[in-house]
């Protein structure tokens, strides 16, 4: 188990290094100069040059890459070109919104998807099953930003139950914070929950067709008991895979949703930084998001082992 983890960890490190190179290369060729953006349209050439000097933009790209990667390893992500504050502080602030949002959305989607999937699977072919599956088909097909727009119209503008966006800060209390994240989390969770419910259902149905479920039934377990005691845990393996894969989509979705609800999270930071050519922030945030995806994949891999003893033995 330990050796398995170490090996995975090593390849994880390598992919992160490769990702950092890709990110840096891509972003370095982005046209646009942060210094001239900051100084606007009336700035003189010597002013721009002075600012470039001050921002450390006049050393070679390779040197900047090395200092960026080196810095990240020691927790120093550099200093934002436009905000002149340490990137790590900016990310720290934003992550306090993006991370809770991701967790909120993930929990919501799991809370909806598991019962829905299990119910549909256990009543396969019934009206319940058909309606749940129909709903999930629609849920998968709805673009989350459109759904978010509809939610805002209904719950913020008309009913005025939730604020239309923005984030008051966690210092206003947990409930206030969660309330502000509710509509964004719902719009993120909808497609995720739909996919997850479908996977849950089909994994459960597949597992219910396995030989060992038949064995369990021969022991005298009812269909229900066989599902809860035997099929469910085995069905978790594909479900976990999907949860892991979805995390990447969740992050992508969050970038858009944060813009719809003007939440000051990482997604908005990346958009804003791209338009301001705050390259170092873009690089660091993208790197962080990639890191998050890779780490989640890693965690999912470890969870497999918790679910499936066959993987535990493979050390």
């Amino acid at each position: 188990m330990l050796r398995y983890s170490l090996k995975r960890l090593l390849s994880l490190g390598l992919s992160l290094l490769a990702a950092s190179a890709v990110i840096f290369l891509t972003i370095e060729i982005v046209p646009g100069d942060p210094a001239s953006y900051m100084l606007g349209i009336n700035a003189q050439a010597d002013t721009v040059a002075a600012l470039r000097e001050e921002l450390g933009l006049n050393v070679s790209a390779f040197e900047r890459y090395i200092s960026w990667v080196g810095g990240m390893l020691t927790g120093d992500f550099g200093t934002s070109y436009t905000y002149r504050t340490p990137v790590v502080d900016m990310i720290g602030d934003r992550i306090m919104i993006s991370l809770p949002l991701a967790i909120y959305a993930l929990s919501l989607s799991t809370l909806i998807a598991f019962p829905a999937g299990i119910l549909a699977a256990s009543k396969r072919g019934s009206v319940t099953d058909v309606s749940i599956m129909g709903a999930t088909q629609v849920g998968v097909a709805i673009p989350n930003f459109w759904f978010a727009m509809l939610l805002v119209v209904v719950f913020s503008i008309n009913l005025r139950w939730f604020s239309a966006g923005g984030f008051p800060g966690w210092d206003k209390g947990l409930i206030v914070g969660l309330k502000a994240l509710t509509l964004p989390a719902i719009s993120l969770a909808l497609p995720q929950a739909s996919i997850l419910a479908r996977v849950m259902r089909s994994a459960l149905i597949d597992t219910m067709n396995e030989d060992f479920v038949r064995t369990a039934r021969a022991k005298g377990l009812s269909k229900r008991q066989a599902m809860w005691r035997h099929a469910l845990r085995n069905a978790m393996i594909p479900v976990l895979t999907i949860i892991g894969l979805q995390f990447s989509f969740l992050i992508a979705g969050a970038i858009i949703i944060e813009n719809v609800f003007f939440l000051p999270g990482l997604g908005r930071l990346v958009f804003q930084s791209i338009s301001q050519r705050d390259l170092i922030v873009v690089e660091s945030v993208v790197m962080l998001l990639v890191f998050a995806v890779v780490i989640v994949t890693f965690i999912v891999d470890l969870t497999y082992a918790a679910v499936d003893p066959r993987l535990r033995g493979r050390s």
Partner: protein, 493 residues
Amino acid sequence: MKHFKLRLAIASALAITASLVYAETTDITVGVTLEPPHLDPTGAAAGAIDSVVYANVFEGLTRFAADGSILPALAESWTVSDDGLVYTFSLHSGVKFHDGSSMDSGDVKFSLDRARADDSTNAQKALFSGIDTVEALDSTTVRVTLSAPNGAFIFNMAWGDAVIVAEETIADAKTNPVGTGPFVFTNWVQGDSITITKNTDYWGTPARLNSATFKFISDPTAAFAALMAEDVDAFPIYPAPENLPQFKADSRFQVLIGSTEGETILSTNNKMPPFDNVKVREAMSHAIDRQAIIDGAMFGLGTPIGTHFAPHNPDYVDLTGQSNYDPALAISMLADAGYPDGFKTTLKLPPPSYARRGGEIIAAQLREVGIDVEISNLEWAQWLEQVFRGYDFGLTIVSHTEPMDIGIYARPEYYFQYDSADFQQLMVDLNAATDPDARSTILKAAQQMISDDYVNGYLFQLASATVANANIVGLWHNAPTQATDLTAVYWND
């Protein structure tokens, strides 16, 4: 039914809390579209910085009033030598920075010298380029000597880029601005909001609000929703004119319409064929239906202009007739210029909706006369890179929001590259002239000249719409500069 009751209960609970808050309101939440990159107005061009700190946190020698006129600020009064070269300012005494240190002539000298120094990163360095020397005569007297007369010098000193800062605190001003204004910078939640609170030690008339929060809402939809949900109390330069009728119809809100200094123009690359041909530019000006653009892009908000000058300025000349909408004429003029089948060009659009929407309309109008326009939407940084500094564009739409900026036509390297010796001479004359009548005459001639040369397509003067809670008093109607002056704002209970 049960649900309905519950909903009522929640609604009334909300109403009660809301009314409790209303009872003694001395704070305000103001929506602004752009978050400032940092808070030092002397270190970047971002209008977003001014919209938070101008007049509230930082003050200059002079300042803009709500109607665009110039008022004394830190300078109590000033005298100008007859040759127009020497300005002597006498400062208010007893002015203190927010850190408790006093503001005196030394700070003025520091601020002006810093802005014009070789390593200055001031975005409007040109404002100070005419200064020869700055001398602190005594603690409240400053003498500024110019190298050449400049009729706009007092006006220039009102800009946000010319505010007075202290040498001890300027290094940290980007995150912790220390000024002399009626509000003190308190907190910045990056990506979300900036809070300023009342300066109890203010030298002038104190502010009536205890605190103000600027909330960054870049998305127009979000701005609409935030106002409707009363998450923000006021939204100056409201970004979506299409929503104004709804606010007007809603008694909770007031809508203040005014003008800005933003001449919105179809900037034309005067060096790029076929736009180097004045006939082509003239033909194009007749292909554009300004009213359709104002209706379509701005939902009726905006004043048509025929030259690069603000219509609310007394010296404005209405020249819209010179480029009236006449597509048939445009087609025949194009044919005369040698383009009977039209031509292809690019239209590069920065993010604001006046540009994006206006661009689509102009593209459609130009297509009617045979000009095939390829639209590309750019981020500001790309726009600066490609259009503004790269000259790689045929057409673009941008609103020039700097006040009194007709002088840009005298800069041949300026991105639309209008190079006219006559016009450059006019500007030299203008700077030399100190007599108001003479200045007025020159300005009118300048307007006429660029209109005759069809340098750019002149579209409309950008209007400013402020949406605010109906009980708020004292907000600016017009936007002579990018500022959210809260010094005189209060709640009318």
